[in-house]
Subunit: 159 residues, 2 copies
DNA sequence: GTAATACCTGTAGTCACTAGAGGTTCAAGT
DNA sequence: ACTTGAACCTCTAGTGACTACAGGTATTAC
């Protein structure tokens, strides 16, 4: 990964898992989990068996959290990390991964948008009477009552 | 739930779990799962211990699948089913549930939209060189490089 | 009669964490 | 030096909504 900060010096301060987690916006449990599944390398331990980290770990974990926030799966993040570790490689694969992810996000957006529209229609048509006359229940009971502009009736529908 | 079809007669044909699943757009495993968690009542069995269903089950399961397709949680579906079972009750609660769900869907849409925009920006700015110069990696490494119109950097970010 | 298909139960796996039990270590204050 | 409380450790189990599999039984078609 590209260094934005100077290299850690020999006298660099080590931090514990709690501070690392705070700095990167996650919880200590999550850090241990990422170590367990190999997204983070096993951290060196102090005399009392507690993990000690440098700023390199903050950068790596921030990268991970940020990619996860973008909705990349853990496996995609693993690949992104591998690529980021070799700055001289062509970035074609990174681009491909990002584009594939964008396509998935857009598909989810489309489905979610059609769900939203249908929900709005359902709610607007509810006259406020009793359940027997309720349009919301009707639409849920019978797919044919849907306006169905988009593909919300598919298999893995909600993103 | 409001009947769209006439009441089942005494001579009605019973169907197996496979046909029920096909009719309602899910798998037999899912039907058994719904029975297990109490969304569907325990089906009567034939001599060989296999579940037999009537069209009532098709209607109920279709309702469930459809509500799930709209993104209602299983617990919300459970409540909707309870309400649908009492057609003379006021539909206020149904309305409330639907509106709450709409709000959640809109929140997810907002987050997802901001993620999509940022992904697009990342990809457009990738000059196609090597990983060391790759804007995608840069943005993932450093949240400050985000355009950040929306709240995609929050806690539970991706819907 | 036999072979293919559908069905049964029960358990474990998925994804990405999160929560808790039960214990150890560290840092600060007295 | 001692005590207290926070932070840390490992290991296991739970979340949601299914899905998959193993190992067996029933039904159906030929």
């Amino acid at each position: 990964m590209k260094d934005q900060t100077p290299e850690p010096t020999a006298t660099e301060r080590y931090i514990g898992i709690g501070e690392l987690a705070r700095e990167s916006g996650c919880k200590p449990e999550t850090v241990r989990y990422y170590e367990q599944i190999g997204l983070l390398p096993s951290a060196p331990r102090n005399e009392g068996n507690q993990r000690r980290y440098t700023t390199a770990a903050i950068r790596r974990l921030t990268f991970i959290r940020h990619a996860r926030d973008f909705g990349f799966s853990v496996e995609a993040v693993r690949e992104l990390l591998q690529m980021a570790d070799y700055p001289t490689m062509p970035c074609e694969e990174v681009d491909t991964l990002a584009k594939r992810h964008l396509a998935e996000v857009e598909a989810r957006l489309a489905r979610l948008t059609s769900v939203r529209d249908e929900l709005k229609r359902m709610i607007n048509q509810c006259a406020g009477g009793n359940v027997g006359q309720c349009h919301i229940i009707d639409v849920l009971s019978d797919h044919r009552l849907c306006h169905q502009t988009g593909p919300h009736g598919g298999a893995d529908v909600i993103g």
